[in-house]
C-alpha cells in the first residue's frame, strides 16, 4: 500500500497532465480544476504517509529495473522529502488557483497547466528519489519544463532568450551533476541514497572527493542561482508571474539547496565543503541583496532578493555548526512561504496597474488596502521583522554566525549584518515605492483590488507567515525537527524556537540591520547615482548571448572542418578510421590471418566462379561510365553470387538472389533511361583533380578490399560454436516446418522480420515520395539510337503477346514457391518477388495505363494490408494468452499447416507490393502523356 501511494505521489502530476491537456481544449475551468485536484490529491497522499515519517521512519519503495547497473525505480519519503512535497503540492495548489485568475482569459490554460504539472512531477521525483540516477532524470525534467514555463510567452523574444539562458545554465549544471553523481556512486559503491548517506566517511576520504564535490556543487549552484551562475534567474522573470511564484521561490531554485541538504551527511564536514559553500553563499547573499535595491522592476527586485536568500541558505549549509543546517531548513520553509506570497502580490499589482516599474507606481494603499496589508506582512518577513517567520530563521542565522570561531568569528557576523541591512533596505523600497508614496498619475491602468479568489492564496500564505512568526513551537516545530533529522542523519539538537532569547548578540545584529537598513534606504538616491556612475559592469545577459553565439560559431567551424559537404570526403575519413581500427585490433591481437581450419577444398567450378566474379567486378569498375555495360557486369556478379549461395548450401538465398537480380536489373534499366548512355568525362581542372584522386582512391579501395579479404579468411578458418543448434532442433516440433531458414524468418525471429519488411515498405513509400511529380528531361543520346520521339512506340508485339499466358504460369509458380516454403526452399520473400515479376511483366508488355485499368489494384493499400496481416498474426496469440507472434501448427491430412503461413503471406504481399510500387514509380516518370515508358526497360 505504501509502495503504491509513494509511486502514486510522483506519478499523479504526470497522469493529471494528460487530463489537463484533454480538458484544456474543452474548458478553462476544467483544466484548472484537474490541475488543482492533482495537487490536492498529492497532499492527501502525503497526509496518509506522514505519521510513520513523523515517528522517525524512512519509507522506501524499490522496484528493480536494471539492478546490475544500479538503475532502479526507488523512492523514499523521509523528513526532508516530506517537507518538500508539502511545499511542492501545497504551494502548487495555491499557484493553480492564483494562475487561473492571473492568466489572460483567452488563454485556455491547457498548455500552461500541462507544463506546470510536468514540472511539479519532476520536482516531486527529485525530492522523493531514493536512487541517485533516478533523481538525475527528474532533475533534467525540471530543467526542461522550467525552460518551457519561462518561455511560455514564446512569441516574446525576451521570453525565448530568457528560457534558453535558463536551460543552458541549468542544463550545463545538470551535466556536471551527472558526472558528479556517477563519481559519487562509484565512490560509495551504490547509487542508493541510503547507502550513499551511510558511507560519508568512505566518500570523504576518497581521492576523487574534490572533483566529485565540485561537480555536484556546480549542479546545485546553477539550479539555485548561486554566484557566478545567478544571472539566469533575474532574466527568468520573463516568465508569467505564477511561474515565478512557484519556480523561483518555492521549488525549482530550492532544488539546488535541497540537493546540498540531501547529500549533507555524505559530503559535508570537510574544509573544501566549508570554504566553497560559505564563500559562494556569502558572495551570493551580499551581491543579490545589493543588486535587489538597484532594480526598478519589482519582479527583478524579488528575483535578486531570492538569489540573496538562497545564498544565505547555502552559507548556512556550509557553516556546518550543529545548528546551522536546521536554520537552513527553517529558512527554506520561511522563504518559500513569504517569497511565493510576494511574487503573487507582485503579480496582482502588475495585473491591476499594468506596470512593474517602481518609478511609475505609487500609493496603492488607497486603492488596494487589503493587498497592501498582505504585502507589508510578507515583506516584513523578508526583511526579518519580529513576529513574522523570516525573523526567526534570520535570528538562527545570526546566532550560527556568532558561534563561529577564528577569523570567521568576526567575518561571518559582519557578512550577516551587512546582508541584513541590505535586505531591510530593498524590502523598504518595495513597500514604500509601490504602496506608500503619494498617488501618482503615471500608472497605465486605474488600480483596484483583484478578484476575491486571486487574493486567497496570498492570504493563506501570509497567514502562515504570521502564524509561524508568532507561535513557531506550535506550527512548525515538528516539521522542522523531522526534516532536520533527515539532513543531519541523526538526532536534532534541542531547538529553542522562541521570539525572545534575551538580549544577546543576534538581537543586536537584528537591531543594527533594521536601523541600518532604513538609513541606507533613506540615502538610496546616493546609492543609485553611485551605482550609475560605476556602470552596471558587464551585462550578464549580453555576455551570455555573446558566449553562446561564440560556441555556436565554434561548433559550426568545427563541423565545416570535418564536413565539406562532400560524400567522398566523409567516406574517405570513415574508411581511414575503419582501417585504423581494423589494423589496431589485428596488431593488438597479434594473431595471424591463417586459422586452424583448412576449410573444404575447392574444385575447378569454384575457381572458375571466383575468377569470373573478379573479372566481372573489374569490368564494372573499368566500364562504370558506360552505364549499360556496367549493369550487365552487375548482373553477371549477381548470378555468380547466387551460385556461391548454392555452393554454401543456402538454396533459399540463391532463389532470393536470382529473383532480386531480375527486379534490380529492370530497376536500373528504367532509371538509366534518364541518363546519357555514357557519363561525360571530367574536363579541365576537374580532370586533373580526378586524375590525382584516382591513384589515392585505388590505393584506399585495394587496402580496404584486402582488409575485408583477410578478415573473411581469418574468420572462416577459425572454428566456432554455432548458436543455431536450438533452431535446428526446434524447427519441426516448435515451428511445424522443416525449412529452418523459413521457420526462423516467420516464427523464431518473426519480430525481426516484421521490422525488416516495414523497412522495405518505408523504402518503397520513400521512392514514391521522391519520384512524385518529378519531371526529367530526356538525355540527348539514346541507347537504342532512336530519337526521343520514338518513345511513343508500344512494346514489341512479341512481348505483349507473351506476357498474357505468362501471368497464370508465374502466379502458379509463386503459389507453389510460397506453399512449399515452410518445408522446402522458398517462402514469402521469394514468392513475393516472383509475384512482383509476374505483375511487372504485365506492365511492361501492355503499358502502364492498360495494366492499371485491368488490374485495378492499389498497391499502396496491399502494402498496408500485408503489414497489417503480419501484425494481426502477431496479435491473435494474445487472445489465447500467449506471447506476441506465438505460432500454432497442425496437420490437415498430409499437409502441415502453421499459423506462421499467414505471416508469410503478409511478407509476400509486402514484398510484391513494394517492388511493383517502386518499379512502376520509375516507369511512370516518363508519363508526361499517355505513354508506355516501362516498355523501354
Amino acid at each position: 500500500m505504501t509502495a503504491v501511494l509513494l509511486i502514486g505521489l510522483v506519478a499523479l502530476p504526470f497522469l493529471a497532465s494528460l487530463a489537463v491537456v484533454c480538458l484544456g481544449e474543452l474548458s478553462r475551468r476544467a483544466a484548472g480544476w484537474s490541475a488543482g485536484a492533482a495537487m490536492l490529491a498529492g497532499l492527501v497522499i502525503l497526509a496518509v504517509l506522514a505519521p510513520p515519517v513523523f515517528a522517525g521512519e524512512t519509507l522506501v519503495v524499490t522496484v528493480p529495473w536494471l539492478p546490475a547497473w544500479g538503475l532502479d525505480l526507488a523512492l523514499r519519503l523521509d523528513g526532508l522529502g516530506l517537507l518538500f512535497v508539502l511545499l511542492i503540492d501545497g504551494i502548487g495548489m495555491l499557484i493553480v488557483l492564483y494562475a487561473y485568475y492571473y492568466m489572460p482569459d483567452d488563454d485556455r490554460l491547457g498548455r500552461f497547466f500541462l507544463y506546470l504539472l510536468l514540472f511539479a512531477g519532476g520536482m516531486l521525483g527529485v525530492v522523493l528519489a531514493e536512487n541517485l540516477l533516478l533523481m538525475l532524470l527528474f532533475w533534467e525534467v525540471t530543467s526542461l519544463t522550467s525552460f518551457l514555463l519561462i518561455a511560455y510567452k514564446y512569441k516574446d523574444k525576451e521570453a525565448r532568450i530568457a528560457g534558453r539562458m535558463a536551460l543552458a545554465v541549468t542544463g550545463a549544471g545538470g551535466l556536471a551533476l551527472l558526472a558528479g553523481v556517477l563519481l559519487l556512486g562509484q565512490m560509495a559503491g551504490s547509487y542508493t541514497l541510503t547507502d550513499v548517506l551511510a558511507r560519508g566517511d568512505i566518500i570523504r576520504s576518497d581521492a576523487r572527493y574534490p572533483i566529485m564535490l565540485v561537480l555536484v556543487l556546480i549542479g546545485a549552484f546553477t539550479k539555485s542561482a548561486q554566484f557566478p551562475f545567478h544571472f539566469w534567474l533575474p532574466n527568468a522573470m520573463a516568465a508569467p508571474t505564477p511561474v515565478s511564484a512557484y519556480l523561483h521561490s518555492a521549488t525549482m531554485v530550492k532544488a539546488g539547496v535541497f540537493l546540498l541538504a540531501r547529500l549533507y551527511p555524505a559530503l559535508s564536514g570537510t574544509d573544501l565543503w566549508f570554504y566553497i559553500l560559505t564563500s559562494v553563499g556569502a558572495v551570493t547573499f551580499i551581491l543579490g541583496a545589493y543588486k535587489a535595491l538597484l532594480r526598478h522592476d519589482f519582479k527583478g527586485l524579488l528575483a535578486y532578493s531570492t538569489i540573496s536568500h538562497l545564498g544565505l541558505i547555502t552559507l548556512l549549509l556550509g557553516l556546518s555548526t550543529p545548528l546551522s543546517p536546521v536554520a537552513a531548513i527553517f529558512h527554506i520553509i520561511n522563504h518559500a512561504v513569504f517569497k511565493a506570497s510576494l511574487f503573487m502580490v507582485a503579480g496582482i499589482v502588475d495585473h491591476e496597474t499594468g506596470t512593474r516599474d517602481m518609478r511609475r507606481l505609487s500609493g496603492l494603499r488607497r486603492s488596494m488596502p487589503e493587498t497592501t496589508t498582505l504585502a507589508v506582512l510578507a515583506t516584513g518577513a523578508m526583511a526579518g521583522v519580529p513576529f513574522l517567520n523570516g525573523f526567526l530563521s534570520k535570528e538562527m542565522f545570526f546566532a550560527a554566525t556568532v558561534a563561529m570561531s577564528g577569523t570567521m568569528s568576526w567575518l561571518m557576523p559582519t557578512v550577516a549584518t551587512v546582508g541584513g541591512v541590505l535586505a531591510v533596505a530593498y524590502s523598504a523600497r518595495f513597500i514604500y515605492d509601490v504602496f506608500l508614496r503619494p498617488l501618482s498619475t503615471e500608472m497605465p491602468r486605474e488600480p483596484h483590488e483583484p478578484p476575491r479568489f486571486m487574493r486567497v492564496p496570498v492570504e493563506i500564505l501570509v497567514a502562515i507567515v504570521v502564524a509561524v512568526g508568532l507561535f513557531p513551537q506550535f506550527f512548525v516545530r515538528s516539521l522542522l525537527e523531522v526534516a532536520s533529522s533527515a539532513v543531519l542523519g541523526g538526532p536534532v539538537p534541542t531547538l529553542d524556537l522562541a521570539i525572545w532569547h534575551g538580549f544577546n548578540m543576534p538581537v543586536i545584529m537584528s537591531i543594527v540591520a533594521l536601523g541600518g537598513g532604513l538609513f541606507y534606504f533613506s540615502r538610496r538616491e546616493t546609492v543609485f547615482s553611485v551605482a550609475d556612475r560605476l556602470g552596471g559592469g558587464v551585462n550578464s545577459r549580453v555576455a551570455f548571448e555573446r558566449s553562446y553565439n561564440m560556441m555556436v560559431m565554434g561548433a559550426r567551424a568545427g563541423q565545416a572542418l570535418l564536413d565539406a559537404r562532400s560524400l567522398r570526403q566523409m567516406l574517405v575519413l570513415f574508411l581511414l578510421f575503419l582501417l585504423m581500427l581494423g589494423s589496431w585490433a589485428w596488431l593488438s591481437a597479434g594473431g595471424s590471418v591463417w586459422g586452424p581450419l583448412s576449410g573444404s577444398g575447392a574444385g575447378l567450378a569454384e575457381a572458375l566462379a571466383a575468377g569470373g566474379l573478379v573479372l566481372a567486378v573489374g569490368a564494372v569498375v573499368v566500364l562504370h561510365r558506360r552505364r549499360l555495360e556496367a549493369v550487365i557486369g552487375l548482373s553477371v556478379i549477381g548470378l555468380i553470387v547466387s551460385l556461391v549461395f548454392v555452393r554454401l548450401a543456402a538454396p533459399d538465398l540463391a532463389l532470393t538472389q536470382l529473383s532480386v537480380e531480375v527486379v534490380s536489373i529492370i530497376l536500373l534499366l528504367l532509371a538509366m533511361r534518364w541518363l546519357p548512355p555514357e557519363a561525360a568525362a571530367e574536363t579541365g581542372a576537374l580532370e586533373a583533380r580526378e586524375g590525382r584522386r584516382r591513384v589515392f582512391d585505388a590505393g584506399l579501395a585495394l587496402t580496404v578490399g584486402a582488409g575485408a579479404a583477410a578478415l573473411v579468411f581469418a574468420m572462416v578458418t577459425r572454428p566456432f560454436e554455432t548458436i543455431s543448434a536450438w533452431h535446428i532442433a526446434n524447427s519441426v516440433p516448435g515451428g511445424g516446418g522443416a525449412n529452418i531458414v523459413n521457420v526462423i524468418l516467420v516464427d523464431f525471429r518473426g519480430f525481426d522480420t516484421m521490422g525488416e519488411i516495414a523497412v522495405l515498405a518505408m523504402a518503397a513509400l520513400g521512392v514514391q515520395a521522391l519520384l512524385g511529380g518529378l519531371r526529367l528531361p530526356l538525355p540527348s543520346g539514346r541507347f537504342d539510337g532512336r530519337a526521343s520521339g520514338a518513345r511513343r512506340d508500344m512494346a514489341p508485339v512479341m512481348l505483349a503477346m507473351m506476357v498474357q499466358p505468362l501471368l497464370p504460369l508465374l502466379l502458379a509458380v509463386a503459389a507453389f514457391i510460397f506453399l512449399r516454403g515452410h518445408q522446402l526452399p522458398g517462402g514469402g520473400f521469394v514468392a513475393g518477388l516472383i509475384l512482383a515479376v509476374a505483375l511487372l511483366l504485365q506492365f511492361m508488355g501492355n503499358g502502364l495505363a492498360v495494366t492499371d485499368a485491368r488490374l485495378k489494384l492499389d498497391f499502396a493499400r496491399i502494402l498496408g494490408l500485408g503489414l497489417g496481416l503480419c501484425v494481426l498474426t502477431g496479435v491473435v496469440p494474445w487472445l489465447f494468452g500467449r506471447p506476441f507472434l506465438t505460432s500454432a501448427h497442425s496437420h490437415v491430412g498430409p499437409v502441415e499447416l502453421a499459423s506462421a503461413m499467414a505471416f508469410d503471406a503478409g511478407i509476400m504481399m509486402v514484398v510484391a507490393a513494394s517492388m511493383v510500387l517502386t518499379l512502376t514509380g520509375f516507369g511512370r516518370l516518363a508519363a508526361t502523356d499517355a505513354d508506355n515508358p516501362a516498355a523501354a526497360g
Partner: protein, 126 residues
C-alpha cells in the same frame, strides 16, 4: 574454398569502395550494390563454409541457418535501398541538372542548400 571466398569478397569490397568514391551518383549506386553483395557473403560465411547440407530439418551436418535467415532479408532490403538510392539520384538530377556529387570550385552550393533528403545523396551538385 576459404581462399577463393576471401578473394571474391575482397574484389567486391575493393570495387565497391572505388566506385563509391567516384564523383557521379550512378557509380555510387553501383558501388553500394557491390558492397551489398560483399556484406551478404561476409555474413553468410560467418556460419562457416565447411558444412555442405542445406538447412532442411532431418539432415546431418546442416549449414548454419541463422546467417542465412539474416542474409535473406538483407538481400531484399538491399534491393529496396538501391531503389531508394536511385530515386534520390534522379531527384538530384532533376534539381541540379547534373549527376555530379558536388564539392570543389566548380560546383559551389547555392545559398539555400538545405537538403530535403537526410542522406544528402545526389543533391550536392553544381
Amino acid at each position: 574454398m576459404a581462399m577463393l571466398l576471401a578473394l571474391m569478397i575482397g574484389a567486391l569490397v575493393a570495387g565497391g569502395v572505388w566506385l563509391l568514391l567516384r564523383p557521379r551518383s550512378w557509380s555510387v549506386v553501383l558501388g553500394v550494390t557491390l558492397l551489398g553483395y560483399a556484406v551478404n557473403l561476409i555474413i553468410l560465411s560467418a556460419g562457416r563454409i565447411d558444412r555442405r547440407v542445406p538447412p532442411i530439418s532431418g539432415g546431418e551436418n546442416l549449414a548454419d541457418p541463422l546467417p542465412q535467415a539474416l542474409v535473406l532479408t538483407a538481400i531484399v532490403i538491399g534491393l529496396g535501398m538501391t531503389a531508394f538510392l536511385v530515386a534520390l539520384a534522379l531527384r538530384g538530377l532533376a534539381a541540379l541538372g547534373s549527376d555530379r556529387l558536388g564539392e570543389g570550385p566548380v560546383d559551389t552550393l547555392s545559398a539555400d542548400d538545405e537538403d530535403d533528403d537526410g542522406d544528402g545523396e545526389g543533391t550536392k551538385g553544381a
